[in-house]
């Protein structure tokens, strides 16, 4: 994948977040809280848990469907970061040779079980976090954080990060293009040129930061980022957050898959 494509890819998730669906319209605080609850609940399961994790896929799937986020987009992103999770768990089957029986007569090693559990948790958490960003514009996430009393310094850092990642990437894109146009094949793509480009980019960034700071001072910045209240919690938001919390609680503390399984068995017998 070339740098240009990567750039437009980030732009795409940003564009998605400005859609207008039910999920997009929810108060960012409700979504943020729901996502955090979800993440903690998923992480809290024991390392051999698999069956109880499966119902949790309901949440990302619902968000994706109602929020009209293309499945392949999220899927590709999850695959992209998956090597991290795979490397964390890949030695479990070797290091944890205990046997566990899952069905009658079928046993596998506990290591495999925990490996799959890691993969499941990873898929759930990463896709949900991505969906939060894809259904909530980044400025709104920052607002939500500020209203939830996250220190303003951190929130400002985040919003600057968002504001300037596009500028920085455009700058990089220009440098990379300029290099490619004059490197005629392989020359110029070696590590020495690369380190120089990184150096130049760093200096340009520092200079830009200085100009931005000047711009902030010119408009009366004295150390505190001002903020505006923009959102008002609606009943829909409360219902959303509450129902997510209730479902998470049920799926966490009651064996939902077993109950469902018995129910289905009952229907068929």
């Amino acid at each position: 994948m070339t740098f240009d494509e990567k750039y437009y890819n980030i732009g795409f998730i940003d564009q998605l977040s400005y859609n207008n669906t039910f999920v997009h319209r929810l108060d960012p605080r409700a979504k943020l809280i729901a996502t955090l609850l979800f993440l903690f609940t998923v992480i809290s399961f024991s390392k051999y848990e698999i069956a109880a994790l499966l119902p949790f896929f309901l949440y990302p799937v619902l968000l994706m469907t109602i929020g009209e986020i293309p499945f392949m987009f999220i899927f590709k992103k999850v695959i992209l970061v998956s090597p991290l999770a795979v490397f964390i768990g890949i030695f479990n089957p070797l290091l944890d040779p205990g046997q566990v029986s899952i069905f009658q007569g079928l046993t596998i090693s506990a290591g495999w079980l925990s490996f799959f559990s890691i993969l499941l948790k990873f898929t759930l958490t990463v896709s949900t976090a991505l969906l939060l960003i894809a259904t909530t514009s980044f400025p709104s996430v920052c607002h939500a954080l500020r209203q939830l009393r996250v220190p303003s310094l951190f929130v400002s850092q985040l919003s600057f990060l968002y504001r300037y990642i596009f500028v920085l990437m455009e700058e990089t894109m220009r440098i990379v293009r300029a290099r490619n146009m004059r490197s005629y094949g392989q020359h110029g793509k070696d590590i020495r040129t690369f380190t120089r480009i990184v150096g130049i980019l760093f200096i340009r960034t520092v200079e830009r930061a200085e100009r931005i700071y000047y711009a902030m001072l010119s408009r009366g910045f004295q150390g505190d980022m001002p903020s505006i209240k923009r959102f008002h919690i609606k009943t829909g938001d409360v219902i959303f957050a509450a129902s997510v919390a209730i479902f998470l609680y049920i799926f966490r503390f009651y064996p939902a898959t077993q109950i469902l399984g018995r129910f289905v068995q009952g229907v068929f017998s």
């Binding site: 400025p139 100009r211 931005i212 711009a215 001072l217 010119s218 009366g220 001002p226 903020s227």
Partner: protein, 244 residues
């Protein structure tokens, strides 16, 4: 309102690396004047603008804005009086949405939210950018960005507007809109630019800077027709005068 003056008296500025950017510059701009500052690349135009609101302090000499001397104590007060518009709008628009960016100045002045909203809407309306208010700056075109950058400065209601290359990177139509907009402002205006046609359209007076020294100061009609002076300063006659 006759005190919206900008006065530089024998201002010199030395960068820390020893570059002498301004040498003994003196001029006085009175209320409501539009002044173009022209000169070759590296002549000291940007450095001069950075003195206008105290980002840089003169190494020697004094800067006088209104009835205030520029010192470290009066800087904040002076920044309220002098709005600076930068050459690159990406440096100026640092907040995640257009609305928040334009509101940044008024909020720093401690205004309450309804007053801020009024100011922001007024300023955005002035540059015909009201429908941009919820967009993030990186989704804007260059012309829109520079319009918003101007709005963000107007929202503080400065007495004096200082601009560095306001029309750089603009397409002819956006540039024309900007020129028309600038003409409607009654502020004192100080515009540093290489776009001599823009200066001719907007300003009445022109200051030519060469290697940190004022080499000419006079009405636009005199200076921008002086081919010899312009060429000595790496400039040429405005295009509109070349045709005849």
């Amino acid at each position: 309102m006759s005190h919206h003056i900008v006065e530089f008296k024998n201002v010199s500025f030395l960068y820390p690396d020893g570059t002498e950017a301004l040498r003994d510059i003196s001029f006085r701009i009175t209320h409501g004047e539009s002044v173009g500052i022209i000169g070759a690349n590296g002549a000291g135009k940007s450095t001069l603008l950075m003195h206008m609101n105290g980002y840089l302090m003169p190494t020697s000499g004094t800067v006088n804005i209104g009835d205030l001397f520029l010192t470290r104590q009066t800087r904040q007060e002076i920044r309220r009086k002098v709005g600076v518009v930068f050459q690159n709008p990406d440096d100026q628009l640092f907040m995640p949405t257009v609305y928040e960016d334009v509101a940044f100045g008024p909020l720093n002045l401690g205004m309450d939210e309804t007053a801020v909203r009024e100011r922001v809407e007024y300023a955005l309306n002035l540059v015909s950018g009201l429908d941009l208010q919820n967009k993030p700056p990186h989704h804007l075109s260059c012309g829109q960005k520079s319009a918003v950058a101007i709005a963000s400065v107007i929202a503080v209601e400065p007495d004096i507007l200082a601009m560095d290359e306001p029309a750089a990177n603009l397409d002819p139509r956006s540039r024309r809109l900007l020129i028309n907009l600038l003409k409607t402002f009654e502020h004192s205006k100080i515009i540093a630019s290489h776009d001599l046609d823009l200066i001719m359209d907007v300003c009445h007076r022109c200051i030519v800077i060469k290697e940190g020294i004022v080499v000419a100061d006079g009405p636009v009609s005199d200076i921008l027709t002086n081919k010899k002076l312009l060429e000595e300063n790496h400039l040429e006659l405005p295009l509109s005068l070349q045709r005849s």
